[in-house]
């Protein structure tokens, strides 16, 4: 597989960065609310960012997006 092909596959996924780790979701679309539920994170204890902008829980992530989850208290 060429470098371009690998890049194309990765860019079709949703990337989620949390606690210094990266997760890749093979989804076309995912709501922030559903993402937090899937990661078992209480929405009262975290914020989601995309390209440096805060997202409300009703926002959708789409393939190619990178989302950063910031917790109110760092994980131990």
């Amino acid at each position: 597989m060429t470098g371009g092909g690998l890049h194309a596959i990765i860019s079709l996924m949703i990337r989620v960065m949390i606690d210094g780790k990266e997760h890749q979701l093979d989804k076309k679309k995912m709501r922030i609310e559903a993402l937090l539920r899937r990661l078992r994170i209480n929405p009262e204890t975290a914020l989601a960012l995309r390209q440096g902008e805060l997202l409300t829980e009703d926002e959708d992530l789409r393939e190619g997006d990178t989302c950063i989850i910031v917790r109110t208290i760092a994980e131990q």
Binding site: N42, P43, E44, L47, L54, T56, E57, E59, A74, Q76
Partner: protein, 310 residues
């Protein structure tokens, strides 16, 4: 989701307040919230000298930013605890923040002034670094604020901190701590300055959002000694309640404050001057001097009781 104030795209939903807000209106919301807290609990009077205890974390840096924007004449005080790596990175974050703002910052390093940091002293005295850290921080900050002529010492305790401390004090029925846990601890002796918590009604998530939106580069790392801290489980419990019943945290704290008078306070009774340093204590020698003398090899007895909270 739309901003309830202006109809623009919202960046945060605040379920406890039944609103979603855009960036600009959220930042105004936080400033108003702090201003209301200052007014309601009479934290400061106009033009008094305020020192903010800055650890480098999000709460203290956000507090400094907010008080500056509200027009209070604030200065910062950072205590370098001498915890390998962690303290250096915290100090760097604080110094960068104050350089950028050209704001006055006072630094005190345990390594430079005492010859050792918290972990080394705690290890030698065989006591918990967290209780020792609390004891030393309180002493140094109180003494610094009084000696430098400040009239108020402000700390970045947020609603989650206050809620967690309250839950801890209630589950152990610590009456003395319950009597003193409030956004304002008055100066009940001429050698003490009042202590204020202007973020007491702002949740931890709101403070985090404030820092992100203001691009405040805070020190994100958690203290290596904080692992397993009970305050963390209390915060998690309260946030679970908050999830199922939005507004629980603020109700828990504010309703407590309304009824706080039922708890008797004896903190100001029996205060005297420490025979070694002259600062306030309820005993012949203060705990800070006992720690120092014991650390340096003196056979003074150590009291093993935990440092106070709240």
């Amino acid at each position: 989701m739309k901003c309830k104030k202006c109809g623009n795209k919202a960046v945060i939903r605040l379920r406890a307040h039944h609103i979603s807000l855009c960036c600009e209106d959220f930042l105004s919301f936080v400033l108003n919230r702090v201003q209301q807290t200052i007014k309601r609990y009479k934290l400061f009077v106009p033009k008094e000298r305020i020192v903010v205890a800055v650890s480098g974390g999000k709460d203290s840096l956000a507090l400094f930013d907010i008080l500056q924007r509200l027009g209070y004449p604030v200065e910062g005080f950072h205590l370098d605890l001498g915890i390998d790596g962690f303290s250096q990175r915290a100090r760097e974050a604080v110094e960068a923040f104050f350089v950028e703002r050209e704001a006055p910052l006072h630094l005190y390093s345990l390594n430079e002034n005492i010859g050792a940091g918290v972990p080394k002293i705690a290890s030698q005295l065989r006591r918990s670094p967290c209780s020792l850290c609390g004891l030393m921080r309180r002493y140094i900050m109180n003494r610094f604020a009084w000696e430098k002529g400040f009239s108020a010492l402000a700390t970045g305790h947020n609603l989650d901190d206050e809620g967690a401390a309250l839950l801890g004090n209630v589950t152990r029925w610590q009456i003395g701590y319950l009597a003193r846990q409030a956004p304002l601890l008055p100066a009940f002796h001429p050698r003490l300055v009042k202590k204020a918590k202007p973020l007491a009604l702002v949740s931890e998530r709101e403070v985090l959002a404030y820092c992100i939106l203001r691009a405040i580069a805070y020190h994100e790392e958690q203290c290596p000694h904080a692992k397993g801290a009970t305050s963390r489980s209390h915060k998690e419990a309260l946030n679970l309640l908050e999830y199922y019943s939005p507004g629980s945290k603020i109700r828990f704290y504010q309703e407590f404050l309304k009824h706080q008078g039922i708890f008797p306070d004896s903190a100001s009774q029996g205060l005297q001057e420490c025979a070694v340093c002259g600062f306030l204590t309820t005993r012949e020698r203060c705990q800070f001097c006992e720690v120092l003398e014991h650390y340096k090899g003196s056979p003074l007895p150590m009291r093993r009781s935990e440092a106070g909270k709240g």
